[in-house]
Amino acid sequence: MIYYLFDIPFSLLGNQFSLNLLSCQLLLDQLTEWHAVASWTWDAQDETCGICRMAFDGCCPDCKLPGDDCPLIWGACNHAFHLHCILKWVNSQTPQAHCPMCRREWQFKG
């Protein structure tokens, strides 16, 4: 160890600065993986579903998994609901269903 300290560094001393530069430039090349974390959210105006009162980012009472399994759906009036919630609502409101929020005639947004 002691020999090593005495023998080698001396020859390297002159190159000290360029060595640093070398290591720094290689830094980004050697970024092998960046594992990031994100949360998803529905791009909706409200936070909660007007029918079940559950968070949009959660799921409707009939579902266990949020997201793909319990999607949101927008009406022509631009109100959003859990798909499952509004379907139930629409089916119960024959012949014509209205938006639970604005009472306008319910139409799925095209």
Partner: protein
């Protein structure tokens, strides 16, 4: 010495009719009788006065003084015995009078010498007794021939002989008893101890021989079966056994003679006590010797075997020998033992010794059980530490306790061992939990009903409740087989939950009948030792009623399963967020197990968290396969060596995760660009959903290239962002660097320690003492410092290493929620002085009904209070909380 009633009446009648001549004759005869008696007794076998003695005695009898003759003669015998027999006899043992006061266990006595002295003394005394009996027989003859002349029946004279001899026996015994020195019982004890040890070593030699011959037999078996006649072999066997028998028999006979001599001297019970105590001592030594500190083999059978082989064989031979002797002994036979003329044998027939032997066996086995039990109980702590390797010792202990029923001894002793050795500040919570689980596992063998396990576990549970990291340790142990035990002891790579589950499956596969009998036994045992009316209610008697529930006992420490599940959720979140692959197989397995035990609905949120990981993996692949091909920035990024290949993402459904501690962070520009591309693509695929990046979370793998080697690191995005700032500028002040990365200076100063500790950056205080300057350490100095590592090495940064976590811990969450009540609690303690946990809890419930209402459990309150104790705001004394005086 009682006078015979009828003869004294006779005497009186005769005395009245005496004339002077007669009195002269009587006096002359009396004097002659006294003189000859004295001469006889002094004469040591000189019988020349025999006829004179006889005629004097007969003369006196003629005058009706027979009883006087007898009395005088017996008294003379007594005096002589006292002088020549007893005092001489005791003098032999004088050398041991001082040693005797010492502890017998120390055994400073030369046993061979004791044996020698005792035998010699008994021999001498028996010789003396032999002479005296000869003289007594002369008297009997004299009286008998007198009676023959008077033509009395022979039968009554035989009775007279027996009466006189038994009277003599009694006199002699009383003399010995009256002069008995205190140390004589000890001398006897040493004698028997020595002899028994001799016997024991002979027996062990015989056993070895037996084994050898057994081996031989096995080897010869084939050849032997070819032989038409096997008598030769039989003979050899016979000889072998005979030799053993003779050898033992000689020794036992020797002891038997001593016992018989002692009995004939009136020391029946003393002799028995002596050999009994010697046997028990030897047995105790044998148990200690066999048992030792080896817990990995059962010793009970070999102890029982030894009891059969040595003490019982000895007792059998001894009792048989003493019992047989009744048949061929005559008063003067003197062949075997002259002293044994009237053995007061309690075992006259052969059937009786075996009954006595059974009693002995029971006594010895009980003693052995108790000795082994005490030995094992004293070492129970070590045995439990050694479990399951020590299960043979546990099995032995179980059998012992079933026999002795002294379970309470175990409970008391083990609890104090736990208090002294385990429940101390120095023991880690993991250690305590491991010992607790080992205790449950080990003791449920002994106590399938778990009744005194309850008592033993109580102090451990109470102690653990006072520790802050208990829940965390429990959850880790339950769910994580790899890192559960930081010491690595006993970790098999299996989580405790996994182990319990496997055990349960095995149990289900075993026969139902087995379980039933187990339970029955448990019930019987339960009744035998500590009936607990609340627990041992037979009405609750379902089949699974009394199984020891390890998981239940562990959850019992925490208080409720909800707390356990909560803690697990936080730990799971932390683990998942630090994953750089999407490999969650073991987490899925654990979740399945948790669902079995805690119900599906309790684990719902955890299930969604795992599902997020599965979805993330799918989405990640999808996004990277379909992302729009190179935008302008893409080409630019590739120039800088960054492509989308290096980016992976975990996308969480944050509503179902515990609160995430996300800090603002400026990551390097190219990375920022990548994230935004990725997010855009996500929205395209999953519209109308979008991503919210938590930039400070996740893991980054990077490699630092130096001239002679590359160093690989897995770090947090903050650490990555810090080090990457140094590629443009080799030196930064902390203020500038913090601003560039977008984090507070104190956070920077804390996080950057990682790079300093790795020798990558150096910290030097600048002109402004509040501002640090960080500089890239040059390759040369670094190489000298860690030259051994040169080459490539991987450094892993785990979340806890610098105390930074991605998820708020349950304590932190609780603490946040509880801080509202801290003032209230302080006020309460100021007013009430020392207050118990229950009372604080109830008072909070009563008064904090709004803003926000107090809805915490007792355990949560306790955990919060122990935090305050740790901060030295409160003190916990004897279960009462008091304000710490500052």
């Amino acid at each position: 010495m009682t006078m015979d009633a009828t003869s004294s009446v006779c005497n009186l009648a005769i005395l009245e009719s005496l004339d002077e001549n007669l009195i002269g004759e009587i006096l002359e005869s009396w004097n002659g009788f006294c003189f000859t008696t004295e001469s006889l007794l002094k004469g040591n076998g000189d019988l020349s006065f025999g006829s004179e003695f006889e005629s004097h005695a007969q003369t006196l009898c003629k005058h009706g003084l027979e009883s006087l003759v007898q009395e005088h003669f017996l008294r003379s015998l007594e005096n002589t015995f006292e002088k020549n027999g007893a005092s001489k006899f005791w003098r032999h043992f004088d050398p041991y009078s001082n040693v005797a006061v010492l502890d017998i266990d120390k055994d400073p006595i030369d046993e061979v010498e004791v044996q020698h002295v005792l035998c010699k003394a008994l021999e001498e005394l028996s010789l003396e007794k032999e002479y005296q009996e000869k003289y007594l027989l002369m008297l009997v003859h004299a009286l008998q021939s007198f009676k023959d002349k008077e033509s009395e029946g022979r039968q009554s004279s035989e009775a007279e002989r027996v009466r006189l001899f038994s009277k003599y026996q009694l006199i002699m015994a009383s003399v010995l008893m009256a002069t008995l020195p205190r140390h004589f019982p000890d001398v006897l004890h040493w004698y028997f101890k020595g002899k028994l040890e001799e016997l024991s070593s002979i027996m062990s030699r015989v056993c070895e021989d037996d084994n050898e011959s057994q081996d031989k037999d096995d080897m010869d078996l084939d050849e032997r079966s070819k032989l038409p006649c096997r008598t030769g072999d039989m003979d050899i066997d016979g000889c072998h056994h005979q030799r053993r028998f003779l050898e033992n028999h000689k020794l036992v006979k020797n002891i038997g003679m001593v016992v018989r001599d002692l009995r004939s001297l009136g020391f029946t019970s003393m002799a028995e006590d002596a050999y009994a105590s010697a046997i028990f001592m030897l047995l105790k030594a044998k148990v200690h010797d066999l048992a030792g500190d080896d817990f990995r083999s059962s010793v009970l059978e070999s102890i029982k075997g030894w009891i059969q082989a040595v003490p019982l064989q000895f007792l059998y031979a001894l009792l048989a020998y003493l019992g047989d002797s009744v048949n061929y002994d005559s008063p003067l036979s003197g062949l075997r033992s002259p002293l044994a003329s009237y053995p007061s044998s309690c075992y006259p027939g052969m059937g009786v010794p075996s009954e006595g032997l059974v009693r002995w066996q029971l006594r010895l086995e009980y003693f052995a059980y108790e000795t082994l039990q005490d030995l094992r109980i004293a070492k129970l702590f070590e045995i439990v530490v050694d479990y399951p390797d020590s299960s043979p010792a546990i099995e032995d202990l179980k059998q012992c306790l079933e026999y002795t029923g002294q379970h309470s001894k175990l409970v008391d002793s083990f609890i104090s061992a736990l208090r002294y050795r385990l429940l101390t500040a120095g023991a880690s919570t993991y250690d305590i939990l491991h010992q607790y689980i080992s205790t449950i596992k080990a003791l449920r063998t002994i106590d399938p009903a778990g009744i005194f396990l309850e008592a033993v576990g109580e102090p451990i549970r109470e102690y653990l409740k006072g520790r802050k990291d208990t829940i965390k340790c429990i959850v880790t142990m339950l769910t994580d087989g790899t890192s559960g035990d930081p010491n690595g002891a006993g970790s098999t790579g299996d989580s405790l939950l996994e182990e319990l589950n496997r055990e349960e499956e095995n149990q289900e596969n075993t026969d139902d009948d087995d379980i039933n009998t187990d339970d029955k036994q448990a019930w019987i045992n339960a009744q035998r030792w500590e009936p607990d009316p609340a627990e041992a209610d037979p009405l609750k008697g379902s089949r699974h009623r009394r199984k020891v529930d390890i998981l239940g006992m562990i959850v019992g420490i925490i208080g409720s399963k909800d707390q356990l599940v909560n803690e697990y959720r936080v730990m799971l979140a932390e683990k998942l967020l630090n994953k750089s692959d999407y490999d969650i197989d073991s987490e899925i397995r654990t979740l399945e197990l948790l669902k079995i035990h805690f119900g599906e609905s309790s684990m719902q949120r955890c299930e969604i968290m795992l599902n997020d990981l599965i979805d993330s993996k799918r989405t990640n692949t999808n996004i990277k396969a379909t992302i729009n091909q190179p935008s302008q920035s893409g080409a630019e990024l590739r120039d800088q060596g960054v492509s989308l290949d290096i980016l992976n993402a975990t996308i969480i459904s944050s509503n179902f995760w515990p609160p995430i501690q996300d800090e603002a962070l400026n990551i390097p520009g190219p990375m920022e660009q990548l994230l935004s591309d990725y997010g855009k693509r996500f929205t395209e695929i999953k519209t109308p959903r979008k991503l919210l990046w938590k930039k400070s979370l996740g893991t980054v793998k990077l490699e630092l290239q130096f001239e002679d080697r590359a160093l690989q690191f897995t770090v947090t995005p903050i650490h990555a962002s810090i080090i990457m700032q140094f590629q443009d500028q080799p030196s930064w002040t902390s203020k500038n660097l913090a601003a560039a990365i977008g984090i507070p200076v104190d956070v920077l100063n804390r996080r950057i320690i990682f790079w300093i500790s790795k020798g990558i950056l150096a910290d030097s205080l600048g002109v402004d003492t509040n501002d640090h300057t960080y500089t890239m350490v040059d390759a040369m100095v670094d190489a000298g410092k860690t030259g051994v590592n040169s080459g490539s090495c991987e450094e892993l940064l785990v979340g806890d290493e610098d105390g930074e976590r991605s998820v708020a811990s349950v304590e932190d969450q609780l603490r946040k929620e509880m801080t509202v009540y801290e003032k209230f609690i302080t006020g309460m303690l100021t007013n009430f002085g020392s207050t118990a946990l229950d009372r604080i809890h109830n008072t909070l419930k009563m008064f904090c009904v709004a803003d926000p209402p107090y809805d915490k459990s007792l355990q949560q309150l306790q955990s919060f209070l122990s935090g305050l104790v740790a901060e030295e705001k409160l003190e916990l004394r004897d279960g009462m909380y008091i304000l710490k005086k500052s």
